[in-house]
Amino acid sequence: MIAHQVSVFLENKPGRLEKITAVLKEQQLNIRAMTLSTSTAGWGILNLLADQPERACQVLTAAGHPAALREIVVVKMTDAPGTLHDMLLLLAKAGLNVQNAYGTVLGDQRSAILVIDVEDAESVQQIFSEAGVETLSTEQVYRI
């Protein structure tokens, strides 16, 4: 099973981000992690790791925001130096283009995870499992 994040289009203007978080709060949806990628032309894409991505996407769309579910692969980060580099190298070798990647700390405050947004999550998962890199299951991701 492939996990999903919610990607939302938004303008870089005061109050726009709050409009989105207000919708999620009203529906009692939890955001686990969030990154904002901005373009130079005054807009950006907000990536949300939510506990119920399908529902989050649905309520945001209904509230008029362009929102989409995107496949992600989530891996546990270890403390060993160079692990991130090694992982990204694996993907680059396979010719897989990483759209976005962001890290967050788990609820236990001890381990960090890396969320990778790629076009073909299934292939990434396969490459990682062949290389012995542990990926989180969908349940683990949503219950972070």
Partner: protein
């Protein structure tokens, strides 16, 4: 297939004869208004010297500034034979313009709208929902009386409240709708939100769209979304409102009712008449209005007359789609640009909505254009690179059309400004701001 078969198929020579007779009467009538009285006295208009309808070229033009500076009663020709209604423009700058109608004028107008609607295919069996502002705006009462005169069941739905509009369509099985094109695209998104498919779940079959310049691409998109045929309507309040020119079922140009209007196309620079087929400013003369006749009124709308006869058999000539209002033309880096040219390009991209805003400003001595377009919810994938490529592609295609490279700014759906329900297309920040 004709509302008035004889008039609509009148051979050219007889149509011109009728125009000449009516022009004589109109000049006589106009001469009773303070404005024309003064103009005729100083210029010396000899009615007997108008022997052919083309001799109308000897008369001076009337402009919007004339209407404004003689507000409110300067053009009223017959204060005794009572005007019974007025329509007034919003007048965001200076005096508004006002048009008066007596009972004859209103009956004539209603008949022209009925003829126009019939020409597009509206029949007495239709349920006609009129989605536009009533009150001072001519589209409300104009279509109301016209569609009633035709015999359709008319719902005076007025503007706004999309959910109620959809409810009305369902409750009364609306078959025909008149509204502005930009509203239909917004209405469609409400249909989608409610989970109602207008193609399947309504009886809609025919739309009349007007009052807002729009491209052929926008019309086709509307037809596709709703599963209807959409016909263009052209009118302006100075010439009553709707019912001046209308598309027939060929959807190829708008028949302008020449028994009631004299049509001229002039070169905007030289003010000389242009032959059929050439683009210029549309100049109109009323031929059947008594309370407030207007002679050679410069509409500031740019179009041309389609020279070929129409297969539908109507002899009244056709106007091409209105390219824009001369006031809308932007001059940027020496290029003349109409918003319609930009809209035509945007319509090729399903990923962006139909609303757009062109912002022109001067940055460090150079005029720059930015086009704001709305990201379509249905096409959004969350892929940043795809959106950046889309912006670049739009920018290139617009540049190929207008020779100026615009910056493309993607915005959230529904965030572009609207003014009185109509879409605002241009913000020229180089000029002192008008208060809207």
């Amino acid at each position: 297939m004709y509302w008035e078969p004889e008039i609509e198929q009148l051979p050219l020579a007889r149509l011109q004869q009728l125009q000449l007779e009516r022009l004589h009467k109109t000049i006589e009538c106009a001469g009773r208004s303070p404005f024309y009285q003064q103009q005729f006295a100083s210029g010396g208009v000899a009615v007997e010297q108008l022997r052919h309808i083309d001799d109308i070229r000897s008369l001076p033009f009337t402009t919007k500034d004339d209407l404004r500076s003689h507000f409110p009663y300067g053009f009223l020709a017959d204060p005794k034979d009572g005007p019974v209604r007025l329509h007034c423009s919003s007048g965001t700058t200076g005096n508004p313009t006002v048009i008066f109608h007596n009972q004859h004028d209103l009956a004539s107008w209603a008949n022209l709208v009925a003829r126009s609607l019939y020409c597009a295919g509206v029949r007495p069996t239709d349920v006609f929902q009129n989605i536009c502002g009533y009150g001072l705006f001519t589209g409300g009462l104009g279509f109301q009386y016209g569609a009633e005169h035709l015999g359709a069941l008319v719902i005076p739905a007025a503007a706004g409240n999309s959910r109620r509009q959809i409810k009305l369509m369902q409750d009364f099985a609306t078959t025909a709708v008149h509204t502005i094109p930009s509203y239909l695209l917004r209405l469609h998104s409400v249909f989608t939100e409610l989970g109602i498919d207008p193609r399947r779940d309504t009886d809609l079959r025919l739309f009349v769209i007007g009052a807002e310049p729009h491209s052929e691409g926008q019309r086709r998109r509307i037809e596709e979304l709703f599963g209807v045929s959409a016909y263009n309507s052209y009118g302006l309040s100075e010439m009553n409102g709707p019912g001046v020119a209308f598309e027939c079922q060929q959807q190829n140009g708008l028949h302008i009712w020449e028994d009631c209007f004299v049509v001229e196309i002039i070169d905007q620079e030289t003010l000389e008449p242009l032959p059929d087929g050439e683009f210029g400013e549309l100049v109109l003369t009323t031929l059947d209005r008594q309370a407030m006749p207007l002679l050679r009124y410069r509409t500031r709308d740019l179009t041309r007359i389609l020279p070929e006869p129409c297969p539908c058999g109507r002899t009244h000539r056709r106007l091409d789609r209105i390219t824009g209002r001369s006031d809308d033309m932007l001059i940027l880096k020496g290029c003349n640009i109409f918003p319609m040219q930009i809209e035509k390009v945007l319509m090729r991209f399903a990923e962006v909505g139909s609303d757009y805003l062109i912002v022109v400003e001067n940055r460090n001595g150079s005029d720059e254009m930015q086009i704001q377009v709305e990201v379509q919810k249905e096409w959004f994938t969350g892929n940043m690179e795809a959106l950046e490529n889309l912006s670049r592609k739009i920018s290139h295609e617009v540049r190929d059309e207008i020779l100026v490279t615009p910056a493309i700014c993607l915005v959230e759906p529904g965030s572009l400004p609207k003014s009185e329900g109509k879409a605002v297309r241009v913000q020229d920040l180089r000029k002192p701001q008008e208060s809207v």
